[in-house]
Every structure is written in structure tokens, then in C-alpha cells.
Amino acid sequence: MMSLLHRFSGSLVPLVAALAALAVGAVVIIVLGANPLVGYGELIKGAFGSGDALADTSVRAMPLLLVGTGICIAFRAKVINIGGEGQIVVGALLSTVTALAVPDLPPIVLIPTVMLAGIIGGGIWGAIPGALKAYLGVNEILSTIMLNIVAIQVMNYLLRDPLIDPLEIQRGTRIPQTERLSENADLPILIEGTRLHLGVVIALVASVIAWVFLWRTTVGFKTRAVGHNSAAANYAGMPFKRMTMLALTYSGAMCGLAGAVLVFGSQSHRLITDGSSLGFTGSSGFNGIVAALFGGLHPLWTIPSSFLFGGLLVGANAMQRAIQIPSALVIGLNGLIVVFVVSSTSVRDRLRQAMDISRMRTQSVAAKTQPTDE
């Protein structure tokens, strides 16, 4: 974890990792009997080749960016939040319930209200593992995994019974989805004729706020201090437990906001479940981690990074149409990129350590106070 906290933004490591993953992908494509150059060409065209493509890429990048900025803050406080999927779902649920409860508010009031509901929902779903870790010492990786399952099943329950579209019951089709939510909550389209909606701006603003929070506020400084050296931060009187909880809450809130934007920016303007989380979130809870890592855990670098990964996910569909290689390839490559980035970062850190080793010897006592990974 410590190694991650060293900034590698601006370095070549993520790019080399991405190129290596794409090279592996090319081999897979060749083995499956297709032409990788054509495939990747179509992928890039499908992601960035036209105004429509850029709009779709931005929309797809939005949840990655929101999840990613939350991840930046959590990881900097040394908390691993892999509960993004569940936090997105709870944010979506609470915002949906809100829109169903007060559908007639004017857009100028309703849109901020449902977004806030998403933030609160996700925030609560992040605060629970945060409190469990801070006050009971429960490993956040495990609790967030379990809370993902709980969130998904709650969604399945609500969409199959209490929140189901009355029309689905009338018709007897019983597709687990809500009715079309209030038009007043629709996120406005920014450029007529494309799918680019206000959610993209919300995500951009959120990442700038995260940057201001981390580098321009006292609380942000404390968060980073706790992550960097919890022993020293504790010694300096910084409330370690509260910081841990705050970081997970913030991270969850960003995921919850992503959930709300996913619902009200969707083309169906409903919340739909396919029984798992993948159907609704598109694995954004995990892919957002990839985007944040790729952006060196820096909220602003996560913007281009999310845009890139959003493009990969959108372009993968174009690739599928052109060379019949399923778009799932890109999910697999994202996984490889994570492995490569995490591996290469630590290699670089160890090289740096090796060079500093003579200097380190004299400061070995200081080094010992560094917290070890949990």
C-alpha cells in the first residue's frame, strides 16, 4: 500500500502497462483468428472518432471518474474500498426512491435533491465499513465485499416487489425495473443530438473538489498524513479513526453519486436489475479503481484516465462489431493493466529504495516507525 502512495503520475509506468496489456490483447485476438490492427483501429474510431463517439465515451467515463476520485481519497488514507459496486447501487436506490416520492418538484430543485440522495445513500454504505474498521478493526476489504452482496440483494428485492413498475405487473412480464422516473429529474442533455448529459459535468466538478479537498484543506492534509504514516499522524494528535471513517464515507458518497447519475442519465430513465450488480453498474465499482490507479491516485489525473478507460469500454463494442471479438476482452485487459501497474510501481520503488539504502541505514529507526500493511 505504501508503494502506491508514491506518486507515479506523469511517469511512463501506466502507459507502458497499458501498452503491454494491449500487446497481450493483440496476441489473444490473433489466437482467436482475427486481425488485432483492424480491431484496435475500430476500437479507437468507436471511442474517439466522432462527436457521437466522444459523447458516449464521456458518458461512460463519468461513473469511472466519480468512483475513481473516491478511490483516490480512500487509498490516500490507506483504506481499500472495493465496495464501489454496492455503494453505487445504494446511491441509485435512494435517489430512485426520492424521485418516486417527490416527482413533481421542479427540475432545478429535484435534480440536486436526487443527486444529494445518491450521495447520502452511497455515503452511508461507505460509512458502515468505515466505522467497522475504525472502531472494531474489521478488515474493510471483507466488509465491503459482503455489503456489495447485501446491496445487490436489496435492489433485487425492491425492484421485484415494492418498487416494480405497475405496468410490469399488469402485463404479467414482471421485468424487475421501476416505472419511468419523473421527467423533472432527467439530467439535461448538453449537446442536442448526442447522449452527453449534465452528469459528465457533475463528475468533473467532483474530481476538482476532491483535489481541492486533498491538497488545499486541513482535513485533506490529515487524510494524506494518516495514509502516509499513521504512527506519526497519531503522534501529532490526528484522529486516525475518524480519518479512516471519513475516507470511506467520502469514497462511498462519490460512488453513490455515480449511482444517481447512472439512473437519471440513463436512456430508459429507470432503475433496472439483471440480478447481479454488473448489469446496472457495468463493473464501474471495479473499473473506477483501475482508472484511479492509472491516474496515479490523483483526482485530476483521474480525469484523462477515466476518459481513456471509458473510451476503451465504448470502443470495445465497435471492435466486437468489426472483427467479432467480444467486448469482454477489454475487461480482461483492464485487469492486466491493474496487475502490471501495481507490479511495476513496486519495482520502481524498490529500485529507489535500493539506491537510498546507505542513507536509509542511518535513519533505520525512523523507518521502523513506518506502519506496515494490514
Partner: protein, 311 residues
Amino acid sequence: MSDFFTLSVLVATFASGMRLATPYLLAALGETIGQRSGVLNLGVDGVMLLGAFFAYWTVLETDSRLLGVAVGLGVGLTMGIAYAIVTLVFKAEQGISGIGIYLFGLGISELLFLKQVGIPRGIPSFDDLKIPLLGDIPHIGNMFFNHSMLVYLAVLMVPVLTLVVNRTTLGLNIRAVGESPEAADSLGVSVFRTRAVAILVGNGLAGLAGAALTIELGTFQNNLTNGIGFIAVALVYFGAWRPVGVLAGSLLYGLITATVTQWKTLGIVTGATASLTTMAPAVLTVIALAIIARRAADQPAALTVPFSRDG
């Protein structure tokens, strides 16, 4: 509800619970060995998916279920070699590289399934093997001694791994490098080799768990595991890093799943309420984790801490 509390239904539900528990058990046992050596593998679900797909594909093409199981194991071992390189050579952060392995397995298994198979076709499951004498005991026989060979294999792994961990040199080494790699190293135990073995065992069992899942279900689909691998990781904590504890946790999951399915069949709960019942084990696990966390002494002290001599 009275339909449920008849002897034959209860016996059938228990037997089905044993079968459903098998993939959890195999994966969680593997993760236990890995964690006892100090290595966390969050990518179990991805390894399971790859093991499951390749086992499924093998059975589809060759009609040999045994070969399918062997291929599942082989895929697991291959992923084990990769994970050993990532964690032991590159000393990558384990929690996050596990997410990478998961995404890799999720994407590649779906890719290959769609490309090579496309439409799900059924494969034969293993026949039930009735154990002589024991299998004839009324009810008890059907509950415990009339299962497929994979169920027996998984349950048999519990005493075997308990013995290996507690009574062999390899087990002692695994525990030593998980608790204090520096001390083990100073006594001449190779931290690298011991952890590599534990990682191979862990991933091999995860691949096997995937094979067991797909052959038991007789089919494959995208994201077949639906998070079983992640639950398996939690079961290790739940079982306090002991194979017997892991067995108890796996059975709990299997039995609850079987009960919910049975209730749905009998019409005791509707499809919607079944979702709520399905999440019961997850809630239980969070509560259990909160209680267990207080006796964190059980956790291997060097879990997720990479080892290098110049520390």
C-alpha cells in the same frame, strides 16, 4: 412452512446444501493455505471463473468429466504461477493485484465463452457415488454418503489440510513464513519457496472449485461464480484460518442457499423475498467479522506483508 419441515424435504435440502457448499469449501480451503503463508489472494473469483470455463469447455469437447476437473486444476496452477510472480517477485500490493486478477478472469472467461461456445449447452454432471454400508443408513446416508466424488474430495481435504498445516514440516514452514518471515528466513526456511507452494495450492484449489461448480451445475454462463470467490475469502476470516472453521462457514452458506431454493420451490417465499433471504449469510458474515475482529490474534501476523531480506 409445514411442507418444509418433513423429514424427506429436510434430508433433500441438507444433501443439496452439501453439494452447493463444495465450491465455497474448495476455494476457501485454498485461500486458507495461502493466507497462512502470509499471502492474500483477492482474485479467487477470477481464477474460479477461468477454471470453470476451461473445465466446461473440456467436458463439452471431450465428454470426459475427469479431464475437465484436471484442466480446471491446471488452469488454477497456471494462475498460481502468475500470482506468485506478481506477489513474490514484483512484491505488488496484494489487495489490488487481486482485483486485477479478478477482472482478468471475469473478462477473459466471458470472451472465450462467447467466442468459442456462444450458446450455453449442457454438460453431464458426476453421478452420485453411494458409499457402501454408510450410504444405506436411512436418511443419514442420503445426507452425507450419497454425493458426487467432488463433494467427498472437498470434505476429505479438510482433515488432510489440517494435518498438513499442523503436523508436517511444510505446514510448520507455511505457518512460520506467515507469522514471522524474518525469523523463518534466519532459520534457513525459504520464504519465497514456501509462499510459492502455498500460492500454488491456493490457486489450484480455486481452479478446482470453478471446475466443481460448472460440472455440478452442468452448464456455464458469464460471471458463473457471481461472487463465490469473494465470499470464499471472507470464509477464511470467518473460519479463523482453520480448515474446520472454513468447513463450518461453507456449510452454512450451502445450507442457507439450499433452504432458500427449497422455500421458493415450495412457494413459502416469493421470488422477491428470496432475494432478502439470500443476503442473510452476508449480513451474518459482517456481524461475525465484527465479533471475530476482537480476537485478531488468529490472523497470520505477516498477512499481505511482502518479504525481502533487506527489509
